[in-house]
């Protein structure tokens, strides 16, 4: 069973639609027990980090999300919430990775949010999430904050600065872009996630 975390801060429909394309019907849930039993957990997120963390707390999902043993995929704000801290609202995240999330600086040549398609600077060799994906492939981003590059970084993209396009810690993966909105490349990444062993 593929679970999609529902905590009133994620656009679950787009992810559900993309999974449907891959022939998978996801269970949209905020029940910790269902999440524990899931074979895959997808954790989308849009909006403000602080209100999203509050929503997680009010659904009592913080601890359950830290204890998932199945492959886990945070998307966009979902990935940022997997980090230790985000400057957005000075919010403490789930701390699955020690990474810090900061805001893009002012730069006349680079509007914020970064909105649109961008390719990769680098992808970690043998990354199972990016199997068959090249650094030339483009994926869709919408974000004003980014995770800093560190040991947990799985892929790097450049927008004025280098930032983590994807992170990984054991069974936990996170992507800053929207695979569910990134055409065939996005579908391939989601397919790779579903096929993780």
């Amino acid at each position: 069973m593929i679970a999609l975390v529902d905590y009133d801060a994620g656009n679950t429909r787009s992810v559900r639609n993309a999974l449907k394309r891959l022939g998978v019907e996801a269970t949209v849930t905020s029940d910790p027990e269902v999440l524990r039993q899931a074979d895959r957990v997808l954790f989308p997120g849009v909006g403000h980090a602080q209100s999203a963390m509050e929503a997680l707390r009010s659904h009592e999902l913080e601890a359950p999300l830290r204890e998932i043993t199945a492959p886990f995929l945070g998307i966009c704000l979902g990935m940022q919430l997997m980090c230790a801290y985000t400057e957005e609202g000075h919010t403490t995240g789930l701390g699955i990775v020690p990474t810090k999330v900061v805001r893009f600086g002012d730069d006349a040549n680079r509007p914020v949010p970064q909105m649109g398609w961008n390719h990769f600077e680098s992808i970690k060799q043998q990354s199972p999430l990016f199997k068959g994906v090249s650094t030339e492939d483009n994926v869709y981003y919408v974000h004003s904050y980014y995770a800093q590059v560190d040991d947990s970084t799985e892929a790097v993209t450049h927008y004025g600065v280098e930032f983590a396009a994807a992170i990984r810690y054991q069974n936990y993966f996170g992507v800053q872009f929207h695979p569910e909105k990134s055409g065939e490349v996005g579908l391939k990444i989601l397919q790779n996630f579903l096929e993780l062993t």
Binding site: N11, P113, M115
Partner: protein, 253 residues
């Protein structure tokens, strides 16, 4: 590098595309879902749907249409037209729209932008503004509403800055002077606007040739360029346009 975006825009009335689309591979020229898929396959980077239905009933069916579009395409799309409240916007986002756009309603009640941004996040709030050059003064543009019929007297740059401050995530700027002329985008306006705001700018109104797209990305410094009939009537094919821009050295998907 972040790519420059090419965005076809479709006008929707009572669930159908208004002018229709002349594509060889389209069976039903008025079906927005089929058109969305064709554009997505042709390499469009995003799509914009503007509902120009006059009645409340027709607008209710918009959410169902958005659901069908979201099930069909794998690229982001914006939906606008008649959004007056957070509830209106949320209905469309829940149906699968990635962004919503507000225009006249936000000019009449600017707080709407703040309410939308606070509740839904600024990444999904597009403020669409229609501008007209001041005929008496140089380098001044005013905001017009109701499809260009009503002058507001509002300075376009001040309004753009207010929209940004209130939480708009992107501006969609249509030049009423250039719209439909096929003489190119309003580069002067876009250049000035770029110096006033730091959110992404989608340029609209005036595209007639491939060179106009190069110009709007280069001199106009736009992040994305929108066009409607030019694409719908097959005067310009998206794959050829993107190939042209690539050879000109622009970052294109």
């Amino acid at each position: 590098m972040l790519k420059k975006r090419i965005i076809p825009c479709l006008d929707i009335q009572d669930g159908r595309t208004v002018k229709g689309v002349r594509f060889v591979d389209i069976q039903d020229a008025g079906d927005p879902v089929e058109q969305a898929e064709a554009y997505s396959n042709a390499g469009a980077d995003e799509l914009v749907f503007l509902d120009i239905s006059a009645t409340v009933e027709a607008r209710k069916t918009l959410a169902e249409l958005v659901e069908r579009i979201a099930e069909t395409i794998q690229i982001p799309f914006t939906v606008g037209g008649g959004i007056q409240s957070v509830e209106d916007a949320k209905r469309l986002l829940d149906a699968g729209a990635d962004k919503i756009s507000v225009n006249s309603a936000a000019v009449r009640r600017p707080e709407l932008i703040s309410e939308l941004a606070n509740k839904l996040g600024n990444q999904c709030i597009v403020v669409a503004m229609d501008v007209k050059r001041d005929s008496k003064k140089d380098f001044q543009w005013h905001v017009v509403v109701d499809g260009g019929r009503t002058e507001t007297g509002l300075d376009a740059f001040e309004w753009a800055q207010e929209a940004e401050t209130r939480g708009a995530g992107e501006l969609l700027c249509t030049s009423m002077d250039h719209d439909g002329t096929k003489s190119g985008y309003d580069i002067g306006f876009l250049q000035s606007l770029r110096q006033k705001v730091s959110i992404p700018i989608v340029a609209s109104g005036g595209a007639g040739t491939m060179e106009h797209f190069a110009e709007v990305f280069d001199q106009g410094r736009a992040d994305a360029a929108l066009a409607a009939s030019l694409f719908h009537f097959g005067e310009l094919e998206i794959p050829a346009l993107k190939q042209f821009l690539k050879t000109q050295g622009f970052p294109i998907r």
